[in-house]
Symmetry: C2
Subunit: 768 residues, 2 copies
Amino acid sequence: MKNYIIHDEWKIIEEGFRQEENRVTESLLSIGNGRSGQRANFEEKYSGDTLRGSYVAGVYYPDKTRVGWWKNGYPEYFAKILNAANWIGIDVCVDGEELDLNRCEVLSFYRDIDMKSGLLTRQFVARLSSGKQIEVRAKRFLSIADQEIGAISYSVKALNFSGELSLTPYIDGNVMNEDSNYDEVFWIGVSQKVAGSSGFVCMETKKTAFQVCTGMNFAVSVDNRPVAPEFTVVEEEKYVGSAFKVWLKAGEEICLEKYAAIVSTLYYPANKLQDATEKALKRAAAKGFDKLFADQEKAWEKRWETSDIRIDGDVAAQQGIRFNIFQLNQTYLGDDERLNIGPKGFTGEKYGGVTYWDTEAYCLPFTLGTAPQMVSKNLLLYRYKHLSKAIENAKKLGFTDGAALYPMVTINGEECHNEWEITFEEIHRNGAMAYAIYNYINYTGDREYLAPYGFEVLLALSRFWSQRINWSDVKKKFVLLGVTGPNEYENNVNNNFHTSYMAVWTLKYTLEAIDYLKKEHPLLFEDLVKKLKLKELKETSRWKKIIKDMYFPYDFTRKIYLQQDGFLDKELIPASELKPEDRPINQKWSWDRILRSPYIKQADTLQSIYWFEDEFDRESIERHFDFYEPLTVHESSLSSCIHAILAASIGRQEKAYEMYLRTARLDLDDYNNDTCDGLHITSMGGTWMAFVQGFGGMRVKNNQLHFNPFIPEGWNSYSFRLNFREAHLEFKMDKSAFSVFNHSKANIDLVVRGKQFHLPAKKELIIK
Amino acid sequence: MKNYIIHDEWKIIEEGFRQEENRVTESLLSIGNGRSGQRANFEEKYSGDTLRGSYVAGVYYPDKTRVGWWKNGYPEYFAKILNAANWIGIDVCVDGEELDLNRCEVLSFYRDIDMKSGLLTRQFVARLSSGKQIEVRAKRFLSIADQEIGAISYSVKALNFSGELSLTPYIDGNVMNEDSNYDEVFWIGVSQKVAGSSGFVCMETKKTAFQVCTGMNFAVSVDNRPVAPEFTVVEEEKYVGSAFKVWLKAGEEICLEKYAAIVSTLYYPANKLQDATEKALKRAAAKGFDKLFADQEKAWEKRWETSDIRIDGDVAAQQGIRFNIFQLNQTYLGDDERLNIGPKGFTGEKYGGVTYWDTEAYCLPFTLGTAPQMVSKNLLLYRYKHLSKAIENAKKLGFTDGAALYPMVTINGEECHNEWEITFEEIHRNGAMAYAIYNYINYTGDREYLAPYGFEVLLALSRFWSQRINWSDVKKKFVLLGVTGPNEYENNVNNNFHTSYMAVWTLKYTLEAIDYLKKEHPLLFEDLVKKLKLKELKETSRWKKIIKDMYFPYDFTRKIYLQQDGFLDKELIPASELKPEDRPINQKWSWDRILRSPYIKQADTLQSIYWFEDEFDRESIERHFDFYEPLTVHESSLSSCIHAILAASIGRQEKAYEMYLRTARLDLDDYNNDTCDGLHITSMGGTWMAFVQGFGGMRVKNNQLHFNPFIPEGWNSYSFRLNFREAHLEFKMDKSAFSVFNHSKANIDLVVRGKQFHLPAKKELIIK
């Protein structure tokens, strides 16, 4: 837990240079535009502790898996989002002395990112060993208006001397992943060129053969007057630079505007990359920094318009929620169904930077609520396109006849995690895939998604469950053995309630889908039966048997479902009785001790209760919450949000607020002491859910929005917005009323605290 | 499964050169003398497939563990027995053309190892590309009479030409482990010297700083006349050689006698190594090959005298049992309690070459029966000396107050496996440690072992179980959660019968030990109480509660104990119904599928029933055998032996024989297709057990030997020998009688088929 970030409604601010927290600040102030992203590294050389990281969307490397003892079916690689060419580099020398904040006196230092516009700003005064003082002001952003472009404005002022300043802007492809399993370099140089003030480096990834071309050009001015120095090009392997010198008088300021282009073979054929790079650089140079930035501001304004959440009366909370929304919007734009939302986005390398069930469970609600419908559909199509790989994955494990097991981690549809207890057993993720289809259709009303896409996925999932579940002669019930629930602090357990529940629900939902298709699209359904070789009677009759006779471990005394068969055999001592020095247990305890303990990492039984709350009465939800939450240590970033929503739904407002705060400022306050590795991007979707579904009490039932709002103590008011089908609505809650403004042209009916309301277009509804 | 080894009573023979099986033959014909050992590699260069391996006892390297995802408590290294300097090397050139059996025509080829004397012989005729033919006869052994010495006799005859033969005997320290986790070289050169016909290379292991000095000298003769050629020394990093040339006329034969010395800092201070090497070389040269070999024969004769098993009427079985005994005797001499019996001995690198519970469970009975008592005691002392490390290991996992968890794999007492489900959970090994103490005392009668050593270990083990077991409120019983039994095809299960049984038995046995010590050695016990901070009343009263109220999963219908809580939830399809193409399942199925299957790798519930058969009546043993054996795939080399003994004990003679054959010729016939990696040394102890306890029906009860022998159909007779306390006995079984000859000076009482017999010294007992 840290507390050095200055509270501000729109900015994330570091004041004073905290070298020891540099990696944390680098993560927090990351910039991104959905196509690439970058940690808040320095432009000039820095010999102190830093994780230099630039990442390009969709470009990965299948790094050879590292395991102790190979077993059949293990994934062969762990895909890594690659650290890509450094495009921000500018070496600075003052009369021959290199600027390096680790080796000079830093007289003042300030850095922030303005979330309104995605602008990263840094300003400092440094005294070199020669005694010469310079002031540097650096600004940069990755454009979301023109996603191939990054721009930097880098100014150096000679404060107390006249002298020669030499600058070398460069592109450097000599980068490695810190988490490379075998210290491999993943990039091969393809071509490079540098002439005058522009140059590029084009590189290819080993094995996957992605190409990325990174180019730069720049313009120089002194005290706002353009100057044309002489350039000396520097060329090394995978490196191009262009050095120049300027004589500054004391008080004069040189400004370098450096533009970068980053293009990849995801969007161009390899032989057009260089051309695309040059074109992008021309566009950038033609506009210049200020005009590019004006476009950027406008584009961000549009994004904020539909997704901003405002809180009056709590700056820390305001900063927290905006930070979450901002980072989600920097990571994923939703315009390319080949991309997804990595757990660290573009802010670090940990977890391989690829797709987990987090997307379906924690991010989809955010895109449904704040982005055009196509964005959410693209997230679903990503999985649809991976279906054949998921079927192949299941086949490797011994499943047949089109059963699919989606990977625990993936980029291209292939499994690439490396622990059997996760890849083979944490199969509830298949349930999340099915739930996402349901959630999308429930929110958007787009049932037509089923026929071309959704049903095919549902069928493959149901086939998996049908084979994975077996009949227990001794229980006279169907059982689901050897699974790992969302609570990874237990694994290889039998009859995990959540997994079994998701399995049975998926079978039911697939049956519903069949009924719907047969009724509404009989011809299409016939085609699907043929294509997917569906033996309807045989397959569905087994599903129906499973639905009827599935075993769920249950405690008849406490009247609660049990997380798994053996849960009550454990010593159930509440987490509150743990000694502070034992927490977080995942850093303090042996894995063995954690596994045998009753402590829960994140919502497990409560995850399905959250998803299917209508199937449980309020007392039952309370019983489960009161049993499981005290045993939960919330050591997953995905835990608090679900608990916040459930707490709100049973009227525990204080608990809901406590849980919400944990998720909202998780990274800003570095709760788990791991922000240095990058941000928890997917859990930011959970924060949004906690707000809208927790405080707002938002649900969608029978094609209608429902609300059950409350306002945390100490806040004056809050507001959020939602896209819902044709409508765009703004909700505001204060101490006295809940109001809804309908910004759209569509009339809408909605339910607030159980009562129906009609809200015409462009009108406001105020409920006291 | 392979079948190319020629059947012979004393020799393991390869006839004809099978290049594709070279690694298998290299394993099978390995030589060893307890101090070092070596695969049957060629002296001359060989560019074909080979695993060059020489290994020195007790010299290891803590190779950095490779795991996918690090968790607290994981062992930091996986200890590797190191591939050490190659001491057999002799480069051979005929008129400038190098001899390499991979690059010339092999006209005839023969290799064998004579188990009577540990002599490896090879003979071949090769036609070089020049058309010149040579005949090579090579013999070598590692002396068990002088364990620092290896000797080679290498003869080359010019068959169809006269020409220049050049030979370069060398020592080469540029070796690597094939299983090095990060392709590291583990050895650093310390010193080396070569002059005339002798030289040495002294190297040190990284991190562990063991030093090994490997020296050579040699003598040359032509047609038995000593010659003195001119030597040209060759020196490179970690390499010394001495080249010379001889002119041979057609039909003449040159013979090189090369002696090697291998000494390590296990036995000398580092500054004395060179001296020790030179002295050993002098001893060798003074004796010469023939005299050294005569000593070797005599020493082996003595070993065979007490350990040989003879079978009349079945050469394959005879070869099989001798091969097992021979390899055990090559691996472990029992004269140094710092050494132990690795699962591959000196024959390969797999499994790290270090100590598993195999030693206690499968090898101790062999040493008890065939070797002086001190040998078995040394095996126990090895663990006693590791006790503080076992306590440290348990501490890392969260246990306190002197509880000990012995490592799953170790060399120096520290855990060095790398899978959590094994290191943290396969804790039944602690039971094997306790059982070994019981077994040793039961066999030898040496109860005095308890006071200085055994009790301290038992107490630490009982403390572990006492903490590891917890009370289940729902079962109202004590439970043992999250364990892996000997059947590693299930893991992280609850209430594994075997583990729980061993735990409870250990508590009982420790209580017995306390009673004995209090009664027989009250003062010693008082000291132990102080030293070990035993709170007798408090600690033992919890043990007694656990003993009284331990939970064992039980099927009241079948009247059998269950392998674990959820075992009956599985689909119990007998292994005989598996398709042939699905076996062995550990090579054909995904790990996931194996875990969910009912198939058993090796005796699990049956392991404790074997160990404590007197606590089960015959019908109960039959019920358990008939339930578990059909589900057992015997994919561990340690499986068949236990099943053979149990089958014999319930009168299933055919089954016993089937199981015995599987274990006896496991490596010779390459049953599991993995002999290429090295031999299954520890399972060879199991083969001996299967013979003596299975066919012989040998047990020790109340300080007496018991027998219940039978003879497999098709055999004429068999005989084996046993050391039992003061007595040395020879047992013979044929179609008509079971006879016992008492070779010793001690009278002895024994029980055969339930009847008491008295056998005076030097007399024979014949029972029809």
